[in-house]
Structure formats: C-alpha cells, structure tokens
C-alpha cells in the first residue's frame, strides 16, 4: 500500500504504470537495458559525426554523407531512449526529481539539443561549401566539441544517478 501522494512527482510514481514497473522483478532491469542499448547507439552514431567535425576521425569523408548514414539511427535510438527513460522515471519520479545528477542530465540533454539545433540552422546550411576543405570552420569544430562534451556529461550523470539515488531524499 502506498501513502497518499504529497506532490505531483509522487502522484506520478504511485500511478498504476509507475507501481507496476517498480514492483515487477524484471520490468525495471529490462527497460533499463533497452535504455542502455538505445543510449550507446545515440552516443556512438553522434560521435562518428562529431569526431569528423573536429577532425579526429574519418578525415577525407564528406561529413554530410556520414551524417546521412548515421542520423536515422541517432534519431531512432534517441526516440527509444526517451521512451524507456520516461518509463524508468515514472517508476521513481520523486527520487529522480530531487537527484542533482538527474537534473544535470536533463540540462545537458537540453544543451546538446540546442547545440545541434543552432548548428543545423546556421553552419550546416553551407556544409557543401566547406566540407571538402582540409579544415572545417571554427563554428563546425566548436559544435562538434560541444556535442562530445555534452553527451559525455549525459553518460556521466546517467551513471551517477544509479550511485546516488539513496543519498538524496
């Protein structure tokens, strides 16, 4: 029996879906595993393009073609990570919402999204003019480095959540 919820996060956590996931012996680990598979796909496929942008890998390959190959996987995996992440969150919403690493993970995800959006709306528009140059424009390199740092931060915070869930309450 669950106590009367005192805030919106507890209301979500004590919902039918939240308690079903939390009480099941296999649901949380299974959803968590799918979340990890989706996340490593997002990180890996994004890194392929980012490492090309900063000039550390795949030099000599057109970045627009690399992005064409990887982006469908990045988006598909991101959607799966968001769905599974949402399900994990519902099962422990009140604990996650007071965990600083979870909140930082959300901030870093937002920053990664904003960085990508800004890059695609500005520098990427002229990609055909600079992608055959030996070095890429500063803005492209910066977007690549920022993306790598933000996603590294997402993994860092994501892993730290598991180690600190019992600390913040």
């Amino acid at each position: 029996m669950y106590p009367e919820p005192t805030n919106i996060w507890e209301r979500i956590e004590y919902s039918k879906l939240g308690t079903t996931i939390a009480e099941s012996t296999w649901m949380f680990p299974t959803i968590e595993t799918i979340h990890v598979i989706a996340l490593v796909t997002v990180i890996g496929t994004i890194a392929i393009v980012d490492l090309r942008l900063v000039g550390l890998h795949s030099r000599g390959h057109r970045v627009s073609l690399l992005a064409k190959d990887t982006l469908p996987w990045t988006w598909g995996a991101f959607a799966l990570a968001a769905i599974t992440g949402g399900l994990l969150w519902i099962s422990k919403a009140s604990s996650y919402m007071i965990n600083p690493y979870f909140l930082w993970k959300l901030v870093l995800l937002a920053l990664a999204g904003l960085n990508m959006m800004y890059f695609h709306l500005t520098t990427w528009r002229t990609v055909e003019h600079w992608e055959k140059d030996p070095t890429f424009p500063f803005a492209a390199k910066l977007a690549g480095w920022l993306s790598l740092v933000f996603w590294l931060g997402v993994v860092f915070c994501g892993r730290l959540i598991g180690f600190t869930l019992g600390i913040y309450y």
Binding site: I37, V40, G44, A47, H61, D69, W73, L160, F163
Partner: protein, 179 residues
Amino acid sequence: MGDFLYNITEWLRSTWLADFALGMSEWPLTQWVVVHFWAIPIMQIIHILAIAGSFSAVLMLNMRIFGFAGHATLAETSRRYTKVLWWSLLFVIASGVAMLFGDTVRNLLNAIFWIKMILVVTAVVSSLAFTKSLSRRTAGANGVQGEVVGGGTKAAAFFLVILWIAIIFCGRWIAYAPA
C-alpha cells in the same frame, strides 16, 4: 530461468572460485577501488563509452553490408569501422577487468557474469573472423561502389549485432542476478 541462474550461482559457490573471489576482495587494489567512491563510476563510464564505440562500429558495418548506408565503398567502410571496433574492444576489456575489482564476489560468483564472459569471447573471436573475411573480400575493391555481399557475410554481420545486444543485456543484468 531464475532457478537455472540460481543453480549455476550455487554451483559456482562450490568451486575454487569462491575462495579466489574472497581472497581477491582483500587485495590492495580491490580495497583501493572499494574506498574510492569515484573509481567504479569512472570505470563504468569508460566501459559504456567503449561499448558505444564497439556497438556503433558493428551497427554501421551492418548498415553498409545490408545497403542502408552506402556513401562509401565496403572496403572503406570496413577499414574505418574495423579500427574503431578493435580500439573500443580493447577499452571494453580493460575497463571490464578493472570493474571486477569493484565487487569481486558479486561478479565472479554470478551466473550472468560468466554468460557475459562467454559472449564477449565469442564476440572477439567472431569479430576477428568477420573482419578478416571482410578485408579479404574487399581487397582490391577500392573505389568500387556496391560490391556484392553474400548471405554468409550478411548473416555474420547480423549475428554480431545480436551478440552485442546480448552482451549489453547481460552486463546490465549482472546487478540483478539472483545471488
């Protein structure tokens, strides 16, 4: 399934591994890892990033072989992602070994840990065979788009993806295995 895993764990407890795991938990390196809060999370982060590298390399090779990603020749794609795969595998294994010291008993006396080890060895051997066969097949095919890929290569590529998904499954479930 739970009973099966529990029985394997019980059997592991009856072997020399039990004494070895307990002895290993007293090693200075194990003690150092246990008392330093950041050691395990950092090793796990490196492990996850290395898995991201391995899994994505296998995934992109698959995409090229199945014709879903075709901007480069198979030879170029194979060369590029094979390097990523081997470097990532090196970090997967190194960080995995380091993580063993975090909780020797829970890891070594755990059915899912050993299933994962069998799958990792299978992945390394299969990757070696697969990349060798791919480099033989693509030798001299530089610059030729759309080389013909046989059913065997496609099956091997798909098998590697499934293998990595199984490895990730086991990796996460080690923490939830019946002890």
